[in-house]
């Protein structure tokens, strides 16, 4: 019965209804089915919303990024890259993936992030490299490059951070095994993350290599093409 909430989420997302509404309705329905009084559900909403304020930390980065963008930070990032002949969108993102993954493995999670690094620096660099190479880049390909920039940040972070011993995930698992009377060693846990971390880096770099090839095929030598208009606008 409690799975109705999960079903609501899946249906809601599949129908592309507004996520906020879907999540709220699913939360209310799940709570009601589990027999919680409505007042308690709303209280839980408020409580959890307050405890998780840290998730919205990006707000504090907005003034800096906004001011710098107004002064042409993104243009400068693109400009800097366009002077490097060997730079391509895929190569820049591969280097960023590497830095992000190694950084996270050393416990330096905060060197990246979407609001403070990807939007103002990495995405414009990748776009700038593509523009230096192909001239005008249609909006559709630009979006593809930006989506890849966001993905490189996530993938680097996720598969790097568990190699760092003091990260939350490792401590959580150690605590869980301790509770269940099973011996576990955080350093060994972190080390056994390395094979997957390397594998993911290789796979994703190969994908970025082919992404460059795809851009090559689509954009090489054509400049006057009108950008195709995306059909879906979900906001």
């Amino acid at each position: 019965m409690v799975l109705i909430g999960v079903a609501l989420i899946i249906i809601g997302f599949a129908l592309r209804l507004n996520s906020l509404v879907v999540v709220t309705v699913a939360g209310l329905v799940t709570g009601l089915i589990a027999g919680m009084p409505i007042k308690e559900i709303i209280t839980q909403f408020g409580e959890a919303f307050t405890t998780n304020r840290y998730m919205s930390i990006l707000i504090v980065t907005l003034p800096v990024i906004g001011l710098l963008e107004r002064s042409g930070l993104q243009n400068q990032a693109g400009h800097l890259v366009s002077k490097i002949k060997a730079a391509t969108a895929g190569r820049i993102l591969t280097i960023y993936l590497l830095i992000r993954e190694i950084g996270a493995a050393l416990g330096l999670n905060s060197i990246g992030g979407h609001p403070q690094t990807v939007r103002p620096l990495i995405a414009p660099m990748a776009e700038g490299a593509a523009e230096a190479k192909y001239g005008e880049v249609p909006e559709k390909e630009k979006e593809e490059i930006r989506a890849h920039a966001a993905a490189a940040d996530n993938i680097g972070l996720f598969f790097g951070e568990d190699i760092f011993v003091a990260v939350g995930a490792i401590l959580l698992m150690k605590g869980f095994f301790d509770q269940n009377g099973i011996e576990a060693d955080p350093i060994s846990m972190a080390l056994w993350g390395i094979p997957t971390a390397i594998f993911v880096f290789i796979v994703h770099s190969i994908r970025l290599y082919f992404f460059d090839k795809k851009l090559d095929r689509k954009l090489r030598g054509k400049t006057e093409n009108t950008p195709p208009i995306s059909k879906k606008d979900v906001s």
Partner: protein, 317 residues
Amino acid sequence: MVFSVEFIYIIMGIIGFCCSIYTFLDKANPRRISSGLFYLLYSLTLLFGKVIPPFYIGIMVILMVLIVGLGGLKKGSYEEATEGQREERRKKLGNMLFLPALLIPIITVIGSKLFVNVKIGSLQLLDPANPTLVSLGIACLIAILAAVALTKSTPKTTIKESRRLLEAIGWAVVLPQLLATLGTIFTSAGVGKVVSDMVTKVIPETSLFWVVFAFCIGMAVFTMIMGNAFAAFPVMAAGIAIPLLIKQFGANPNQIAAISMFAGYCGTLMTPMAANFNIVPAALLDLKDKNHVIRVQIPTALCALAFNIVLMYFLIK
């Protein structure tokens, strides 16, 4: 402590509050009152989260969702710098522009690594509850001052620029917090146990490969539902890893732990429920399809998931 987590939330609240004023005043926005109300309510939950009783915060959250659901949140107009103006300023400032942006990660890392245990008198400098968050907040404050000085901007421009970005993100800005809320309700309603029971029921307990398969896929799917691998691990480990893999097949718990968490992360890469990684960036980067980042990540996530299954199988065998 000198700088607490609450201090950072108050800064966030002040930024949100100032932005909402400009939204209220934005004549070009056809829904400026309801849009402004959305950001005002949100900033109040940030500012006074600790003071207002949770029930009323809950009501405010539901009001915000209603505003969005009824189409009351619209973007406004911003006196954006033209490409020419931006290019002109860029030429003047050059690579100095990177300085404030780089200050954020540099100060955050220094703060969270070197100043964690620093005390002033008997007071802890950084909140021990979350030193990284506090360092990031302080780093941003310093970077704001640097950016204002470098670009010779007024506080007014600073707020206007913040509002432009905040409205670009729109409702997605509260989605991560709301999803975490849903996770709490799922947990207290016992969704986790039901899912793990279902997974344990379908697997043949004698075949090592299928147990590993079900465990890794279960981690990924559960993470996709909850939006968080941390929530998946205790449930799936208690249901499958400890009784079957460790006790029955004698697997090494360290290997299981490392690989299963990565299997969970493969799920994180594929779900809109992990909004702060997948949906908020799509909004931040002006992507038309909010699932665009997820679409890009799916192939890598599936390859990694397959690799994890094979790796775990051969390690135990």
